[in-house]
Every structure is written in structure tokens, then in C-alpha cells.
Symmetry: C2
């Protein structure tokens, strides 16, 4: 389960080489309406490719969209010797990866993530999938892209909210790595973006994920490190969605990191000084997710329903310190209530 990851802002040249070496009889590119308009015209090596366009956004990461992509693969005559290039954010790379992995039992695909979040997260590790019956990534497979081209040169097409959203996952990787990686991130500016230094931060961040995934490709144990911040983050995200005011995934993760760092402090001795630095950075860049104590029960219910939970208990990954990861902690309701209280104090809400 290893994918070749190429770090380069010379995407056109890199992609041209991959296409040349693979000797494909057809090249197809999957885009959404945004990447079709803003990114595709910059890639001259795809000027002759068949284009499949899917609608953007997580709400379109569905079986219907997947079916439409399969149908268009048929119509443009794709064979086992064809290449699918997924050009877009995580929705495009996840759904396109699934389409390629299942079409004729698997054709080659290359991921070219165009958002920071997809670059740092969704395009690495071989996870593909779609949402199903209201559940995120419920149907999918583990499948490796032929190559993943990571670049920062398309990030100028992104809204600031998108950039920050991806940066939250980098923050998580920094915490899973060590103190100096974390400090480098909180001392860097997200905006204005500097493409080459961002590519270096991205490289360092993805390496952290790669090392964890390599040890545990099928998510049986240590890979759960990557869930840090996500049990609580997903609960925030789901609640916001249910309340009709959705929040970006990365923002929910940033707030989730704070709550799970609090739990880490309470239960595993994570240093309070580091917790304060984290909370300060999150508050100034992401604001706060506003909750009151009346919301706690609903949030705990949502945490219990997380895909990683078993038999109805809340399961979190915690840190004893930066880089010292403890997976599979079962957390009691009292501790969650206390952690949410402290989160509100830290965020001043």
C-alpha cells in the first residue's frame, strides 16, 4: 500500500512524464466545475484528454455521482490500459480513486490534489470512497494511486477558509510528530501564502502521515493516531450540519484538537504550556465553535456514533506529549463534560 508521492510545482511536466512512461491508450481527467475552470487550463499535457466533470462539494460525493463517472468512463472507451487523473479537492480524489479502483476491477489513477486539505490528507494513504445513507466515506476501498503529485501552485485559486481548513490537518501532524515541527507551524503565517515554503511544510507534514500509514495500511492499530482531534471534531461538524450552519471540516478538526489536547492533559499528562499555545493559535486563526453546557449530551451522542467507536463508547486518540501517541482510549462522560468546560474557558466562550 505505497503510493509514489511527488513534490513539485512543475505539475504539467511531472504529469506529462507519468503519462509518457505509462504508455496509456486513453487519458481521462476528472474535474469539478471549479478545477475545470481554474486549474485544467494550466495543464497543457491534458489538453487532449477526455474530461469528466462532476459537481463540486461533499454533498455530491454520492453513489449517483460515482455511477455517472463509471458511465462516462464507458462512453469515452476507457480500458484497463487507460489512466484517470483526479484533479481537484478531496471529493474529486476520493470519488475518482474509487471509480478507478473499481472500473474493470481497477485502472491506473493519478491524484493531483488542488486544495491544501486534499494535499495533506485525502490524497495520501490509499483511502477512496463515497458517502452513503448519510454516512461519510461509508462505501469505499483502499487503493493506491499510481502517483500523487503534491504541489502548492494551485492554492492561489483557493478561498482563505479552504487554506486554513487544510492547515488544521498539518497542525495535527505537527502534534503527532514533535515539539519543533509543531512550533514551526504555529510560528508560520498561513496568509499570505508563500508557495515554496508552504511546499516544504507540506512535505514535512505528509511524511508524518506516510510513516504512520506505512506501519498500518489497513487501520488496525497505530494508524488511529491520525484520528487525533477527529472524534470531537466530527461531532462538532455533525452538530453544525444538523443545526443548519455547517462549518469547514478543518475548522472542526482545529477545535477538536483543542478538546482532545485537553483530554490528553487530563488523562495522559500532556503539558499545559503546549495546550495553551495550541488553543491560542486555534482561537486566533479559527475563532471558536460556540457551545453551551446544554449541547454536551448531543455532542457525546455524536461522538459515540463515530465510525471508530465500538459498542457505543467514545473512543479517542490522545497524546502524552507531542509525538507520544496513545490510541484507543475509552473516555467517560464526566471527562468529556470537564474537557468541554475547559475548552470553553480556553476559547473565552
Amino acid at each position: 500500500m505505497t503510493q509514489k508521492i511527488i513534490y513539485s510545482n512543475q505539475v504539467d511536466t511531472t504529469l506529462m512524464t507519468i503519462i509518457g512512461v505509462g504508455n496509456y491508450n486513453t487519458v481521462i481527467v476528472l474535474v469539478d466545475e471549479n478545477t475545470r475552470r481554474l486549474v485544467l487550463p494550466r495543464l497543457h499535457c491534458l489538453s487532449e484528454a477526455h474530461v469528466i466533470e462532476m459537481p463540486s462539494g461533499d454533498k455530491n460525493k454520492t453513489l449517483d455521482t460515482l455511477t455517472a463517472v463509471w458511465q462516462q468512463l464507458e462512453r469515452c472507451g476507457a480500458t484497463r490500459k487507460s489512466l484517470l487523473v483526479n484533479l481537484g479537492g478531496g471529493v474529486v480524489t476520493d470519488l475518482g480513486g474509487m471509480a478507478a479502483a473499481t472500473f474493470k476491477r481497477g485502472i491506473d489513477f493519478v491524484n493531483v490534489p488542488t486544495t491544501l486539505l486534499a494535499a495533506v490528507d485525502a490524497s495520501v494513504g490509499g483511502k477512496t470512497g463515497i458517502n452513503f445513507m448519510g454516512l461519510k466515506n461509508e462505501i469505499g476501498v483502499f487503493a493506491c494511486a499510481r502517483s500523487v503529485i503534491l504541489s502548492t501552485c494551485f492554492f492561489d485559486t483557493l478561498p482563505i477558509v479552504e487554506l486554513k481548513s487544510g492547515y488544521a490537518e498539518m497542525l495535527k501532524h505537527g502534534m503527532l510528530s514533535n515539539h519543533s515541527d509543531f512550533m514551526e507551524l504555529v510560528e508560520s503565517d498561513i496568509i499570505p501564502i508563500e508557495l515554496e515554503s508552504m511546499l516544504e511544510l507540506l512535505h514535512k507534514s505528509v511524511k508524518v502521515k506516510e510513516e504512520i500509514v506505512e506501519q498500518d495500511p489497513k487501520e488496525h492499530g497505530q494508524r488511529k493516531a491520525l484520528n487525533f482531534g477527529h472524534t470531537v471534531g466530527h461531532a462538532f461538524e455533525s452538530k453544525a450540519l444538523a443545526d443548519g450552519s455547517p462549518v469547514p471540516h478543518g475548522y472542526a478538526v482545529a477545535w477538536g484538537l483543542v478538546v482532545e489536547a485537553v483530554l490528553s492533559h487530563m488523562l495522559k499528562g500532556f503539558p499545559s504550556a503546549d495546550l495553551y499555545v495550541l488553543a491560542g493559535f486555534v482561537k486566533s486563526n479559527y475563532g471558536a465553535f460556540h457551545i453551551t453546557c446544554d449541547d454536551y449530551d448531543e455532542l457525546i451522542g455524536l461522538m459515540r456514533h463515530d465510525k471508530k467507536s465500538r459498542s457505543g463508547e467514545v473512543n479517542c486518540t490522545l497524546l502524552a506529549s507531542f509525538g507520544d501517541v496513545r490510541v484507543d482510549n475509552s473516555i467517560g462522560d464526566d471527562d468529556i463534560n470537564a474537557a468541554l468546560d475547559i475548552y470553553r474557558d480556553l476559547m473565552g466562550i
Copy 2:
């Protein structure tokens, strides 16, 4: 890509052991209306399992059926620690394997093929899939069952046509193996079936397939040996379907074996004596697929559309002798016309 294959007519005990060792939190069994009625009641270890029933037959190996199976997996609370038991013929094991391999990015599944064809063919080698846009197994993944339990004890529930259909694939394996394996098959009686000696023949036959698949799990080269008989066989099957009088897959393969053995004789020196033995056995057990020279162009067109063909040429696996396999032969129209003439002579039509 190795699956544990267990040969046993003590299916209930074997399955109970697998379920016990796996420590699953839910066991779900996928059946069709036939195996629900005739086979499921014989397996006491599944008396408490959730039952998902799909309609039988290749025409139901569709995305709609797959979607219904996914929905029912959700409804019965399946998690990553659940087990799906696929109890049926190739349609059930192919679609159930695909459902399990994609549900939450993969849960454990066990295949218990109840037909000879599924036992000898579809349940081994990690191929799963569904038909799509009129194309067989167009959408699917390679995924390994936790175990495959091969038995003959349910074959008493099968129509004779089904048994013979599976036997044709065994005949193919015998030809890919050696002269004595082939002769043992043509000298055995298909009917009446003797369960224990059939289990031995089955074991020997599956070993042939296993060895080929192990060398080439993703079908890049040598695995094409298993396509012997199938380029022509699929063309016969498609034509029969188009003409409104479908034939069983195995019968089409049996006739395809004869035509491709003729081509092997013409182009690779396959011994004529062996060709006559094959043709005699096929004729007496399967009759003949009736064609006239007016059908040749249509058949060649169908052969060109075979999934294994590239750039519109007819591609066949051929034999220089039993066990001496030559993959990737491009066959000209004149040779196919001549081979179909000889086929008609051999079958007396």
C-alpha cells in the same frame, strides 16, 4: 492475494470455527431465494445470523442489488468487526464479495459456494464484481475472502445443467494441467455425482487455478491462461443471449474449449488425438452450439469486444499441448473462420 481455501464436507463445523476464531460482533449471511430455502437450513451455526436475501441469477448481479445489500448491511448494524458469509453460486459470491470489500472500506467475508461452477471458479482468485451497462463484471475489485469453504455436499440441490456447467471449467483446468488430469476428468461420470470423489477432483482442479493466480494476482500476464476457451465461449454466450435463447456459461465454455483447441492445433501444434477426445466428450455431455457460416462475422465481432482484447483484435490463450500454455495470441479472421468450420465438423452440425 491469497485466500485460505478449506476443502470439507463438514461445512457447519468449519464455518462455526471460523466465526469463533474471528470474534465477530455480527454475522450476516447473504443468500438468494434458492440457497435460503435449500442450503441455509442445513447450517445450524447461522441460525442466529442476520439474513440478507438477493434475487438469484446473473441478471440481478447489478448495482441496484449491490446497493440494496449495502443498505441492509447498514440496517442490521454491520461494523468493521462484522462478518459476511456469502452462501450461493457465483452471483452471490461475486456480488457479496464486492459488497463486503467496499462496505466501510472492507469487512471480512467468507465464501461458501453452493454450485460446482462457483466452487471451481468464481470463489477463488479474489475477483468480485457486478455487471454494468450490459457488460459482465465491469465494476468490481480484487479482494480476498477470509476463507473459502469448498464442499460438494450441497451439489444435490443443483439441477444437472448446473453441475455440467461447472464441470466445463474443471475440464479447462485439466487441459491447463497435464494429460493425466485431463483424462481422469473425461473418464469420470458427472452424473450420478459421487460426493467424496467429486471433492477430490474439485480439489485437484482448484489447485491448478490457485497456482496460476498466485503467480499473477492482478491478471497482467500468465493468469490469462485461465481465459482458455473463454474468448470464443463468451462470444457464443453473448450471441445466444442476443438471440433470446441463453445458454449456461459452462456450456458456452465447453464449446469454446473445442474451438480454441482447434485453433491451438492449427497454430501451436496441439495434438489432434487430444482434440478428438475433447470434442467427443463435449459433444456427448453438452451437445453442440448450433451455428452456420452466416454467423461467423457476428461471432468475430463479439470476440473483438471481449474485455481481454486490445485495439480491436481477437486475443486468445492457446495450448501447444496439455499444460503448455501460450497467452496473448492475436488471431486473424481467416483462422477463426477455419476453426469454426472444423468445430462444426467435429460436432457434426
